[in-house]
Amino acid sequence: MQGIKDRVAIVGMGCTKFGELWDKNFKDLMVDACYEAFEDAGIEPKDIQAAWYGSRESGFTGSHLANALKLEYIPITRVENFCAGGTDTFRNACYGVAAGICDIALACGVEKCKDHFGGFTMDITDPFDRSMVEWELPPVSQFAQLANGYFNRYGLSYEQGKKTLAKIAVKNHHNGTMSPKAHFQREITLEQAINAPMISYPLGLFDACGMSDGGAAAIITTPEIAKSMRKDYVLVKALALANGGGQGKLRSDYDFSYIPETEEAGKLAYKEAGIKKPRQEIDIAVVHDCFTIAELLIYEDLGFSPRGKGPEDVEAGTFELTGELPVNTDGGLKCFGHPLSASGLRMIYEVYKQLQGKAGPRQVKKADIGLVHNVGGVCGYFNCAVAIFGRT
């Protein structure tokens, strides 16, 4: 088994402004994201030989991308893998190049969420049925179950748990002030986060990411071609995907204090990239903080913090921009919002820019190895994508 390490490179990326883009439709977002990527890579749309399009609720066929960009009869596959759809779209495009089927591929993820009331369509096929007996509530209640599971396992009081989560929100909002493309670009205080209105106990307003529209795109090629195009291309070191089979919903040995899908995807990615000590070897991580509790669990599931010690690392500032391992340097989903299939590519965009040293005021000093993480689904039934990137 060869793996993906050093077999493909990113030579261009684009990312739209994320937010409530009332005046744009999903094809506008495709054009904006892809043309920035074409310009960044120094190529024309006609140079694209194959494309992958990630979307959950904005178009069911790859042809929409061809229509928006006027691509002429090339193969385009639509990818859907819930919240991990963006990273999975990228993964499929990389595999196309690594397989030698095409030399230059486009991966694009776009989501026009704000055409739905509130931004999130509730028309989700339930994990198990269509008989409409399962509870049907916004995702926050899924993650609230994880928060209560975590608090219960480690004996955290509501106040203790809430304070840790609030610190994560404050950190990400701080990073977001340096992200011109973020939906939210303002600081919040610890008190604001702790005292915000309750959404689903114990998660409040500032524990939740926003809902927004957005799109991002990447141009993928072989390292050989990449060298001829630019010096600061970024190499793919690992692409992992772990799909849960609802084990946590069926089996009593899962306690809702972690996400096994993240743990498994992390292990696969570290193995592929040859990473032994993630906390020491990874320079920046952009992870799926759809809710603050998700980011806390990710610290532990990806091996950044020992089990149960995430709150101590939060307290110590480990994951702040100036900390030992900066996480969500661009403000994360907290500030960008979460247009489902666009998020993964937006995260890759941040790692790409950081590794190139082009992240502006939020630039991390040493950025050689970067990690991207997406998780989607419902409690006990997630899917998770982890991707690792390097400069050399």
Partner: protein, 427 residues
């Protein structure tokens, strides 16, 4: 409610021995479609049994009772369950609204080892427009009380009781207890006196102070309340009303001690919660409009509902015959040992469970806020994710013991979708 009563009644009974289910109500969710089948499924009764709805009259509960008694006597069934339930509406602010209550009662009629013997029965009918609800009406209507009670209630019940006494050669002193349906808190006392019973010592309290008029279920519930206090040898008179009356002579046997492990009326009243917000009551009744979120309208798939009937109505999970792991909903491949298609059905509706984790949604519009969702682990194995109800917000925490309660989840396109919710264990 009928399901809750039926399952309470079936406590300790082998469900496979029940040969029929008669469901009585004037407020069935459907005008065309059986309600009894829903109750039979949720009570996890066999498929090859007789099911029927008894409707359109407040004496439907006792009519179902007579039909069950006749079936068992005739030998066409060994055990028949009668479940009666009602949730009738009076116009907001009216005396009827104050008077009405929701409730259910269930009795299992059998041919041996019975707790109560049915010695005789007698029925009369009475064509009168005293209390009625036309097709399409939401609220119950009634003629003026003086007329209704005189020529409706008092006439019919007296006639039935007198007829029964004549038939059996019994007199008022032969009864330890008389159980009368009553339209309100006073009439049954008047009726008892008129018939020569001592209302102080013989008359079963109609529970208006703590319950109210529960319609078709009312005579059954009052009988259950009487049996909770009865002792072997007691003779009981039961009479209903609703366009006539069904009256019964019952005799309590030694076996009555064996049915004491039911929650019954006393147990359920002990777990009663008082709603202090009238607005909340109106919302639950569907009488106040509710905020909804615009968006794509999901459909209820009749094939999916049918396919999942064992899981959703019987609350059957599966137990892997190889590794013993209990799983809900039923699976094809075992989540633990990966064996394919080797499962046996496993009933979870009667198992106690504990909350593993939960969430409380304060934002999504709902009749009751917060919306509480729980992941629960059953005693003996099995895990389930479900809504929780009948709770106090402060009591919801990991480790809280819960039990299952059959509830309406959604009404869509005239289809009533039922499923199970967790509730704190009733004391």
């Amino acid at each position: 409610m009928a399901v809750a009563a039926a399952n309470d009644c079936l406590n300790g009974i082998d469900r496979g021995t029940v040969d029929g289910l008669y469901f009585a109500t004037t407020t069935s969710p459907y005008k065309e479609k059986l309600g009894a089948t829903i109750v039979a499924m949720a009570a996890d009764l066999r498929q090859d049994i007789i099911t029927a709805d008894f409707a359109h009259s407040l004496k439907a509960g006792t009519s179902a009772l007579r039909a069950a008694i006749d079936a068992v006597k005739a030998g066409s069934a060994k055990k028949v369950m009668v479940a009666a339930a009602d949730c009738r509406l009076g116009i907001p602010g009216s005396a009827l609204e104050q008077n009405f209550a929701d409730g259910a009662g269930a009795l299992l009629i059998g041919d041996k080892d019975v707790a109560v013997t049915v010695e005789a029965s007698y029925s009369v009918y009475n064509e009168i427009l005293d209390v009625w609800r036309a097709d399409g009406d939401t609220f119950v209507r009634s003629w003026e009380d003086r007329f209704s009670s005189t020529h409706g209630y008092l006439d019919s019940v007296s006639e039935a009781v007198s007829g029964l006494m004549r038939k059996t050669n019994l007199s008022p002193k032969d009864f330890a207890k008389v159980v009368f349906y009553s339209p309100d808190a006073r009439r049954y006392v008047e009726l008892a006196r008129q018939l020569g019973f001592d209302d102080k010592t013989q008359l079963q309290d109609a529970l208006f102070a703590v319950l109210g008029n529960t319609g078709t279920a009312f005579p059954l519930m009052l009988l259950i309340a009487a049996l909770e206090e009865a002792k072997a040898g007691d003779r009981i008179l039961l009479a209903s009303y609703g366009n006539g009356s069904d009256a019964f002579v019952l005799k309590v046997t030694e076996q009555v001690e064996k049915i004491r492990n039911r929650r019954g009326v006393k147990g359920h009243l002990a777990s009663k919660k008082v709603i202090t917000d009238y607005r909340k009551y109106l919302i639950w009744r569907g009488l106040l409009p509710q905020e909804t979120i615009p968006g794509p309208i999901r459909f209820l798939s009749a094939p999916a509902v049918w396919r999942e009937r064992e899981a959703n109505l019987r609350l059957h999970g599966v137990k892997c015959q190889v590794c013993g792991t209990i799983q809900f909903p039923p699976q094809r491949v075992c989540t633990k040992c990966h064996t394919k298609d080797q499962f046996e059905p496993y009933r979870l509706s009667d198992k106690k469970a504990k909350i593993l984790t939960f969430a409380m949604d304060y934002v999504t519009p709902a009749p009751e806020s917060p919306i509480v969702t729980t992941t629960i682990d059953f005693e003996g194995g099995g895990r389930m994710e479900c809504y929780m109800t009948d709770l106090e917000v402060g009591q919801v925490k990991p480790g809280l013991p819960v039990e299952m309660s059959f509830r309406k989840i959604i009404v869509k396109d005239g289809a009533h979708n039922y499923f199970w919710k967790s509730i704190p264990i009733r004391t």
